[in-house]
Symmetry: C2
Subunit: 422 residues, 2 copies
């Protein structure tokens, strides 16, 4: 397997000011095409430290990918240091210089003198075009005791770097990694823990057939299957077969194939069916509305939200009966049902859904500890509610877990999947 080391360059990374998201993106991309990331390095803009890191990285891996340090200022030294480590001269790459000059001209500006240096690349390196910015990247061969190795040098701006990886670096890596092809499929799931998923999918395939991995980035939980082989069409067939097996085992818990978030699934399903939803939020405080409205075009399906934090808002706006609050309390299935019915009535939506709970850290009691959450739903001629105990992590966690639960209930309702027992 082709191996790679990733080197992130820049003072702002090593001082902890900027969180480096380029490296995890690159690692994930490499794994998907069958290149093994074996280590990450970060160094500041010091040329000696960059050179040392490059030498070490070349000892370990066949390909070294660098991000950062391609800007126009004197701090931006990556290209020059790479050339030195590779034992090559720097040369102006005329087409890149022309692109930079035209980029400035397009904005009615003269190219500042400093930017000329961004067109300097090591002799013999292949340019990686940057469609979104001024600095091109390059792939520089390095003669090494362990055979020919490569340094792939990319800018640090995430959007530029990602585009260049997808358009140029991935195809190039595929040519280096031999005839073996890699393919993967991701499934987004709700309601099953990582260890339970592992159990439910055990024995799905043997190690030769493919690889199963889990990605838990709360509130998201994803399963990915990766396969490799010579024939791309066959790989897709294998993924289709595996998808069938996964769906059989996980059932309704799979809400999307790919990276779709639960809020996107919900808006897509409701829009397809021409259904609308309105949300009454107490403990989630607006988070459900916020997530739904993150989806472009959500206005087709999401009519309104009421953040009824105070009891007066529950009564005055949503029409919750004061007796319900007095008898059952604000955190109760009865209140959740009345909130859902209320927001449905005032919005005219097909579905009303409501959350009320104790997000903490204060407000818990023995009977209703922090993490107690009630969800209510109301639709034409029907309703549903249930009390949950989500546990007592922190406030943000309880809010997010409740929002995820509510979104999944909207999904189930839209699909006609039976709701959990009340």
């Amino acid at each position: 397997m082709l191996t790679a080391t990733i080197l992130a360059i820049g003072d702002e990374i090593v001082s902890g000011i900027t969180l480096d998201t380029n490296t995890p993106f690159l690692a994930d991309t490499l794994l998907q095409i069958g290149v093994e990331p074996i280590g990450f390095l970060s160094v500041d803009d010091d040329p000696e430290r960059i050179a040392r890191a490059l030498h070490r990285a070349l000892e370990d891996a066949a390909v070294v990918i660098t991000t950062g340090g391609l800007g126009p200022t004197i701090d931006d030294l990556t290209a020059a240091v790479v050339a030195r480590v590779a034992g090559r001269e720097m040369r102006i790459h005329e087409p890149s210089l022309q692109r930079i000059v035209e980029r400035f001209r397009g904005r009615g500006m003269e190219m500042p003198r400093n930017n000329e240096k961004q067109a300097l690349i090591p002799e013999g390196a292949t340019v990686v075009e940057n469609p979104l910015g001024t600095a091109p990247g390059f792939i520089c061969p390095v003669a090494h005791a362990q055979g020919e190795r490569y340094i792939v040098t990319l800018p640090g701006v995430p959007s530029e770097m990602r585009r260049m990886v997808e358009e140029t670096v991935v195809p190039w890596l595929r040519t280096r990694s031999g005839s073996r092809r890699f393919a993967s499929r991701t499934f987004s799931t709700y309601g099953i823990s990582e260890s339970k998923l592992d159990e439910m999918l055990s024995g799905l395939m043997d190690a030769e057939e493919g690889r199963l991995s889990f990605r838990a980035a709360f509130p998201r939980m994803q399963v990915r299957v990766s396969v490799s082989g010579e024939d791309p069409a066959q790989l897709q067939e294998r993924l289709d077969r595996l998808e069938g097996a996964i769906r059989e085992r996980l059932g309704d818990a799979v809400y999307a194939v790919g990276d779709e978030g639960l809020e996107e699934t919900v808006i897509r399903l409701l829009s397809e069916r021409g259904s609308t939803v309105a949300v009454a939020e107490s403990c989630t405080g607006g988070l459900i509305g916020d997530r739904l409205t993150d989806v472009p075009g959500s206005s087709a399906a999401f009519l309104m939200g009421v953040v009824a934090y105070a009891n007066e808002a529950k009564v005055g706006v949503l029409g919750v009966r004061p007796e319900t609050l007095a008898t059952d309390g604000a955190v109760s299935v009865q209140t959740a049902e009345e909130m859902a019915a209320g927001v449905r009535r005032i919005s005219g939506a097909d579905l009303g859904i409501a959350t009320t709970g104790i997000a903490g850290p204060g407000g818990g009691t023995e009977e209703k500890p922090v993490g107690t959450v009630c969800i209510g739903m109301a639709w034409e001629g029907g309703g549903w509610s249930r009390r949950y105990n989500l546990g007592t992590r922190d406030r943000g966690w309880v809010k997010q877990a409740t929002a995820q639960l509510a979104l999944d209930l909207i999904r189930k309702w839209a699909l006609g999947i039976p709701l959990p027992p009340s």
Copy 2:
């Protein structure tokens, strides 16, 4: 200056599955106490790669801090590899073993055999207690050609690692970094760009007096001053003097000293004054309510939110006049004013504030392009509104920038700072 290299260990990091937030936290903490982070490394759980990374890190820096690989499973090899690199035997640390046994007993369980290994630490190392988990850390001296060096070994669970750093590692580092003391103060600001802040604060102090740095993590923008010297009391005096100078230059743009978020400032100010707020959100979709309710105790000041996404909700619930929508449009200062007055009326809050705008990517026109946002406010006997053009990045950006703007307007209102011209 004492130098440090940070080494993150684990398959889940190198495969891109887990975003390593421990390393930036450590880098930031080190800088605040005058230790210079000079490089980061990440390797998978392979013992040879861990050993190689440790050897290289010890060449570069006086202190190497590792995170991860201290769990009970066979993959968790960090402690054993550190002992090998340091040339020391592993020994059971009895007090740690007792703590682990008791931890399990407290939950009515026998300690699994595997966990015993978590009490093994290199001979001669100092234990770093872990109040939140089973695995203790340790500080292991290493005889090195360049003098005595240290490997500080910590678990990878962020909450455990942070607590151990704050309680044990930072005090230990202070004793190593000599008599020089470091102190810093952070100012959270709103409404001034990084380059403008840099300009406004230029010449504030010379390099000997201290260091100025900027931390831009949208929507937050912070300024930090760091000073060093022998006498802690004098350092605080210098910080006080610098704070005065910064406040003089930045004025109302400083909303908090320290890491307080704008939503926390708003809830604190409103609670102190016994004032209440209600929010009518269109383009922000619930984000303002979500941020306000992230603050524990926010129910004292935040009464309710209405996410009036559809025009029907603006009219039916908030009482916006249909003529206003017809004449001025949903995105207009008139609509924003009526939304603010409406949410104030139905909630009984002291202040009503409303957002309406075009978050994109669709919906823009020549007259009202994506990024056009109107904010309205209403209070007893008064009101205010203004139209902004926030630019056209992505939908999430426009929502977050609008929420930040609205929160800052609530802050100004609570403090009696004049609002911007309408």
